[in-house]
């Protein structure tokens, strides 16, 4: 058994790319090993700011030998054919062939023994392929070379059982050396095995394991905080990022001017984390922010970190003094008076000012005319103020404070909490785990803002493709789904999309850039693509909750009398749940089987007869008890099911069709559909089409899998 150690050492890799790259390296190398018939015991990847690497243990020393047989021509075949066969098989003469016999006589067989390649040779061939084919989010060339990597690649360590696997990529020869910490341990380190590698890197002040680096940072940070009676503000994303910025983490604590504690805590935390990657600290007793912070350096300084701390303190004080200046300036402005005029939301969609107007209108449409008056007033005020903070210096400097600053500045003008809270929360939820806005007004504005965004982009045929979703439209749709479903707010999306579309269309301030571009989608096209986008997002949302995607398709495929798909997300979810529960019952399973049987027969017969059997079966052509019973049951089920969707009693609708199960089973047991008499046969086929229609009134069962 042999162990592979591979390390690609380069200049500083962006923190956000390191883990994915190391994983990609592992996947690419192990997939190729497996393809080459080389199994292994275990594989692990690792990454630091300057290296990604991989350790694979328990590889065989060589590939298994492969015996390949190639059938040749008959012994009686012309000489030319035999020569060609020998050449193709790489054989010198017929002596190396076997002769075998079948019914037609004797023929040649070439038995080719392919000895397995040495594992080292396989690796020497595959690693250069992996390096050349590596996918970085952005890659570059350097110097005079043509190799691409995220930043210049400097060395490759590749050993199998402690011996160098020799190969060359873009002029870089694989070897058994690496490099330690940039400052603490310049110079080469010989590290032929994984144990030596880890140990010598550690001596050279590199903690290879990311989890370990995070632990060290967190432990040291907590310890420093504790020594001052403080607690570290938990921030996993920041911890992850910082672990990607250092190879030898040293946590240090600094202080900033206590006068800055007058700033909103969100401002302090953002100033510390977004640019500087500092951890905020809180008083362990009161929970209030302290005028101290923890930061992580990549150096064990000779002066114990005094100069580093002083430098970082100076930077933070300067940043906070900027923030204080913005805070004071912004509060002198009246949020009411700030004009969004001239700010472009998107060149194809138009100005932000218009977006706010549309959002306010849409939000009022969502709460509806029957809402209490003060709700409508608050919706209007909060919507109109919602984006104004984009004109403030603070949000210009710290875009992630949008909404939050608006709420502070509105509060400074004595707007009530019913208005300020929605301003703060209307961007939520920003992710699948983020909370939705807490009150009705915030929920409605958040929904309206996102729906207006979606209509604007979809109308212009700007949609997410593959992994590209630069305007976070998937997140917007998921946000709407979560708000509506989690608050059980019933809403018909189609009329809202239509009225919002009309506002987009009549937007009087069109941008020049929008004019020479392609014609936007029509309102019907927009409704259709947007609803199927919601359907896709809903599938993802419900799949995470365990629902079957085919059931969602089955519900979305329903059409009302105007041909519109269902557009009330709450009702759709209820129907999917009812359908799922029904199909889990015995009745459901059997009925689905009966439905599929009916549909299959119909499809075959309709195709054969080139006609459609949609229609109502007539009583006088029914001779068998079973078909009469079925016709009666369908009539009753249709009556019950017709009432149910109006009352949105989907369980009731399912129960109504469930009663068809026994008559359908009996029909198939006792009745021959393809009767000799033409009119009887046609009548029975019509009855089958009635089964289909009845069930498809509840959901499109043709989309349901199984049965």
């Amino acid at each position: 058994m042999a162990d592979l150690l591979l390390e690609l050492f380069c200049e500083e890799i962006p923190a956000r790319m390191q883990v994915a790259a190391a994983r990609q390296l592992e996947d690419a190398v192990t997939a190729r090993l497996k393809d080459a018939g080389l199994g292994f015991k275990a594989a692990e990847h690792f990454s630091t700011p300057r290296r990604i690497g991989l350790f694979v243990s328990g590889l065989p020393k060589e590939q298994p030998d492969i015996t390949e047989e190639r059938k040749g021509p008959r012994v009686s075949a012309p000489e030319k054919a035999i020569e060609g066969f020998l050449r193709a098989a790489g054989l010198a003469s017929l002596d190396e062939c076997e002769t075998r016999a079948d019914k037609k006589g004797d023929y040649y067989v070439a038995v080719i023994e392919r000895p397995g390649q040495k594992t080292a040779d396989v690796i020497a061939a595959l690693v250069p392929e992996v390096v050349r084919g590596f996918h970085w989010p952005k890659s570059m060339r350097w110097g005079g070379g043509n190799l691409r990597w995220v930043r210049p690649l400097h060395s490759i360590l590749c050993t199998l059982d402690g011996k160098v696997v020799p190969f060359d990529v873009g002029g870089i020869k694989a070897g058994e050396v690496t490099f330690g910490h940039r400052f603490h341990a310049a110079g080469e380190i010989k590290a032929p095995t994984f144990d030596k590698y880890k140990e010598r890197l550690r001596e050279a002040r590199v903690i290879l394991d990311r989890t370990q680096r995070k632990d060290v940072i967190w432990r040291e940070a907590a310890h420093l905080a504790e020594s001052s009676g403080l607690e570290v503000e938990r921030d996993d994303a920041l911890l992850e990022e910082v672990a990607g910025l250092v190879e030898w983490p040293m946590a240090l604590m600094g202080t900033f001017d206590a006068a800055f504690l007058d700033l909103p805590p969100e401002v302090l935390i953002t100033a510390m984390r977004s640019h500087q990657k500092y951890f905020a600290l809180r008083d362990a007793k009161t929970g209030g922010l302290a005028n101290k912070f923890v930061f992580v350096s990549n150096l064990e300084a000779e002066d114990g970190g005094k100069a580093i701390t002083a430098g970082n303190e100076r930077v933070l004080n300067a940043r906070l003094s900027d923030a204080k200046f913005f805070w004071d300036q912004d509060r002198k402005l009246h949020l009411d008076d700030l004009s969004l005029s001239g700010i472009v939301f998107h060149e194809r969609i138009g100005f932000l000012e218009d977006k706010v107007e549309r959002t306010a209108a849409l939000a009022l449409g969502i709460v509806g005319p029957t809402a209490e008056k003060d709700v409508r007033v608050n919706v209007t005020e909060a919507a109109k103020l919602s984006k104004k903070d984009l004109k403030t210096s603070m949000v210009y400097e710290f875009p992630e404070l949008q909404g939050i600053m608006g709420a502070y500045y509105a509060a400074a003008l004595d707007y009530p909490e019913e208005v300020t809270r929605p301003i703060r929360e209307h961007y939520s939820p920003v992710g699948p785990t983020d909370e939705i806005p807490t009150g009705v007004v915030g929920q409605v504005i958040a929904t309206a803002d996102k729906l207006d965004t979606l209509v604007g982009f979809f109308r212009n045929d700007i949609r997410p493709t593959g992994s590209r979703d630069p305007y976070a439209l998937r997140r917007a749709a998921l946000g709407i789904i979560r708000i509506l479903v989690e608050t059980q707010r019933k809403l018909h999306l189609i009329p809202l999309i239509q009225s919002n579309y009309a506002l987009h269309e009549s937007g009087h301030q069109r941008l020049a850039a929008a004019l020479d571009k392609a014609e936007p989608f029509s309102v019907d096209e927009t409704v259709s693509v947007l609803l199927s986008f919601f359907a896709d997002r809903l599938k993802v949302y419900l799949r995470d909750k365990g629902a079957r995607h085919d059931l969602i398709d089955a519900v979305f495929a329903l059409r009302d009398k105007d041909g519109n798909p269902p557009d009330d997300l709450v009702a759709i979810v209820a129907r999917v749940e009812a359908l799922g529960a029904f199909l889990d019952t015995d009745d459901g399973k059997n009925l689905l089987a009966g439905y599929k049987r009916a549909v299959n027969i119909l499809r075959i017969e309709e195709k054969k007869d080139k006609t459609s059997y949609v229609g109502k079966a007539v009583k006088k052509l029914m001779s068998e008890e079973a078909e009469k019973a079925l016709a009666g049951a369908i009539a009753e089920a249709d009556k019950a099911a017709a009432v149910a969707p109006k009352t949105e009693d989907f369980k009731g609708a399912m129960a109504a069709v469930a009663r068809l199960r026994a008559p359908v089973d009996r029909f198939f047991d006792e009745v021959t559909v393809n009767a000799d008499k033409k009119d009887v046969r046609e009548n029975r086929l019509k009855l089958l089409s009635q089964i289909r229609a009845s069930l498809e009134g509840v959901a499109d069962f043709s989309k349901v899998e199984g049965g």
């Binding site: 350097w142 110097g143 400052f183 430098g311 933070l316």
Partner: protein, 301 residues
Amino acid sequence: MTDAPDRSFQGLILTLQRYWAEQGCVILQPYDMEMGAGTFHPATTLRALGPRPWNAAFVQPSRRPTDGRYGENPNRFQHYYQFQVILKPSPDDIQQRYLDSLGALGIDWRNHDIRFVEDDWESPTLGAWGLGWEVWCDGMEISQFTYFQQVGGFEVEVVSGELTYGLERLAMYVQGTDNGFDLEFGGKKPDGTPFTYGDVFHQAEVEFSAYNFEHADVGVLTQHFKDHEAECQRLLKAKLPLPAYDQCIKASHCFNLLDARGVISVTERQAYIGRVRELARGCCAAWLESPQGRTDGAEGE
């Protein structure tokens, strides 16, 4: 290097010039034209294209009219200095050479936390982009570091490494001051104290802020933009990339001034940027046909 480097503003410049001269760089003087960043210097933009090796270092005064604060903000100036280094092809040890330059300035890595933090560079007006970092010293950004990949819309043949030191930031760091105007510039007043950055530039910041925001004549600038644009195109037809590129630089500065005057709408802004980029592309294309730029450009030509 001496043990105690001169930390005055001009001392930093002298140290950097000496250091990069020792590294084989041509020490150029600032280009005699208004530009937004050292990257606009033809010694960077044009020389980055084509196969020929090139090593140069220079101070470039950089003008960003919208950054004017009438001398009231201690950190933001509409005129400041960049120290620019271009090494082509980028040497394997370029990071180490950069770090050694910090050492020459008296920034000792043993007590300072120096970090390369992801920061990709893009110039829409030059049609250029590259990958690299901003360099942090104890949490403060002191330099930009870029490997050029594309210039004027053309993929570079040989990659240049570009280092840009923000001299004011760097000087504030090594002198330990939070106010740019308090920086010790150098020289000596009759009382023996050095001139400050404020002594040298404060009045200029006040006056140019007034010019950039209030007095620059929009009609004249708009006309100048058109004239420089037309002149650039005319010179390109005459296959004179260097004079044409001067006109491109001038057009770009007119645009920056118009932008500061607040008369360019968002859409127009894109259009102006596109027009400058078109000029830059033309200049780069012509450069690639010129003796210093083309692939077959023999050394003796």
